[in-house]
């Protein structure tokens, strides 16, 4: 059995140090948590769009009160010159950073509970932020490993710990996934940098339908201290990690994922440039996972995109995107725009996105959070630009639909789908059916 739940917590400036934020009602004890945020806050079920808050975005992971990691960036809104910061931590699951490079907000895990989990404020947030969470549990998940990645000094293979990962005798990796995120900072945990706001997010899973691992990455960056806003992005299938060059331009870090043997995976670094630039990962052993991308006509109302014949009974999906077609390999496109989403039914979905607008005189940070879409993007005027929903979710398929047609044709959406092993139909009581 694999369990999945998702939701949001409201992290408010009024919550003083050591305030606890309990999350209940999951119906199971989580084993792995993933968090994402963009800097905007709105209570569920009220959707919101804005061009009035600073970008404070990031991704975090947690598997226990002592095993967690997070990355965070900031890009100030309405700043004459771009003003950005970057940080990562292995002692918090949610983190924010000032443009001067100082940590200025922390959430940590207080406890994993029978029916949920509890967060605790370790540093009061500088602005109200909705933090979305995804939780996985159940007996299928056997191990969760959270780790840090320092960009290597040379290209080629580097191996990372992933407890419980295995290769079958036929040489095929099974039943596992890795989630990635990273920033521009090269500093130690908890020590930020006044640096470009680059953030990457990725998924990888060996897949069950073929031997090639599925993997997707999206990243975006704003060039710190630029007189005219200089923002870029990159989104690619077949890579799990990417990062834009500092000062803007094409990605100069790119990596491929594969499982190499028991209790480890490797990244094949196709490109690297900044030694010790930091990423984090959460590797989950057990469960059924598939990573890849789909495309949708984001500019046509009610157009659909279907992931069918998934080799498991789907329990939910996590999405990433940039409201762009797929990038040419190793080549960025303008606009730092990243969208996050998660869903488990046609009525249970969350999403958030941030656009740091390119080529404007003063910075324009546009944010959206949405409780009725599985993926959403703001316009460059701080309004809703486009939204996608779950139209159908069945035993082994999921269909997305364009609910607000402000996107682009052939729009790229990266996904991580997950679920239970298929159970062969049969008669209860049959000697081979339990």
């Amino acid at each position: 059995m694999l369990n999945f739940a998702h939701g949001a917590v409201q992290w408010l400036t009024s919550q003083v140090l050591n305030t606890t934020i309990p999350v209940t009602g999951l119906g199971f004890t989580p084993k792995a948590l993933r968090f994402y945020w963009v800097g905007l806050q709105s209570n569920s079920p009220t959707n919101a769009n804005s061009q009035a808050v600073n970008q404070r975005r990031g991704v975090g992971f947690a598997s226990s009160t002592t095993s967690r990691a997070s990355v965070g960036t900031t890009s100030l809104n309405a700043s004459g010159n771009s003003d950005c910061g970057s940080i990562w931590s292995n002692t918090a699951c949610v983190i924010t950073v000032s443009a001067a490079g100082a940590v200025d907000g922390l959430l940590d895990i207080s406890s994993f509970d029978t029916n949920g989990f509890t967060l605790i404020v370790d540093d009061v947030t500088p602005q109200n932020i909705t933090v979305f969470w995804e939780a996985w549990g159940g007996s299928d998940i056997t191990d969760v490993t959270i780790g840090a990645i320092a960009e290597p000094a040379a290209t080629g293979q580097v191996f990372y710990t992933a407890n419980g990962f295995s290769i079958t005798p036929g040489g095929r990796a099974r039943d596992c996934c890795v989630m990635f995120a990273g920033v521009q900072s090269v500093n130690a945990s908890g020590v930020g940098q006044a640096q470009d706001s680059g953030l990457h997010v990725g998924f990888a899973a060996p897949g069950l339908a073929d031997d090639l691992p599925g993997q997707v990455t999206v990243c975006g960056n704003s060039d710190d201290a630029s007189g005219t806003m200089d923002t870029d992005g990159y989104n690619q299938t077949g890579e799990c990690l990417s990062m834009i060059v500092i000062a803007g331009g094409n990605p100069n870090a790119r990596a491929l994922f594969n499982v190499s043997g028991p209790n480890e995976f490797f990244l094949n670094w196709l490109a690297r440039a900044t030694t010790n630039r930091r990423s984090i990962y959460m590797a989950i052993a057990g469960g059924q996972w598939q990573a890849g991308n789909t495309t949708i006509a984001g500019n046509t109302l009610n157009s659909t995109s279907t992931l069918s014949a998934l080799p498991f009974n789907i329990k939910g999906i996590s999405l990433i995107g940039a409201m762009k077609t797929q990038s040419t390999a190793a080549t960025s496109t303008v606009q730092d725009r990243i969208g996050f989403g998660s869903g488990l039914s046609t009525t249970s979905r969350n999403s958030a996105a941030v656009l740091d607008t390119n080529n404007v005189g003063a910075s324009e940070i546009n944010t959206s959070i949405n409780y009725s879409s599985v993926l959403v993007y703001p316009s460059n005027a701080g309004a809703l630009q486009t939204a996608y929903d779950i139209n159908v979710i069945g035993a082994n398929q999921i269909q997305l639909i364009t609910d607000t047609a402000g996107g682009v044709a052939n729009e790229w959406i990266g996904y991580l789908a997950f679920g239970d092993k298929k159970v062969t139909a049969g008669t209860i009581g049959h000697p081979f059916i339990s």
Partner: protein, 90 residues
């Protein structure tokens, strides 16, 4: 095109934590830049905020700001320009 680099100082940053990192501050065309190196190999170049022009209070012209930004991009996309200069310091 060639650039004239004026070396300001070299500061070793917390080598126990970061390994062998160096940050070299240099001036080029009256803007400050910070070259972060790892064991002598350039990792990236950060540029001074154009509002903090080194000749302050004489403000930079728009053309100088644009040239500064173009230079920052160039230094980060082609490390050899600054790396060759750093190599002469060692």
């Amino acid at each position: 095109m060639s650039y004239i680099f004026e070396h300001i100082n070299t500061e070793i940053l917390d080598p126990e934590v970061y390994g062998s990192n160096e940050e070299i501050t240099f001036k080029c065309e009256n803007f400050l830049y910070y070259a972060r190196c790892f064991q002598g190999i350039l990792q990236y170049v950060k540029g001074e905020d154009p509002e903090e022009y080194h000749n302050w209070p004489i403000p930079p012209t728009e053309a100088e700001i644009q040239a500064h930004e173009d230079r920052r991009h160039l230094f980060n996309q082609d490390h050899s320009i600054v790396q060759d200069w750093i190599d002469t310091l060692i």
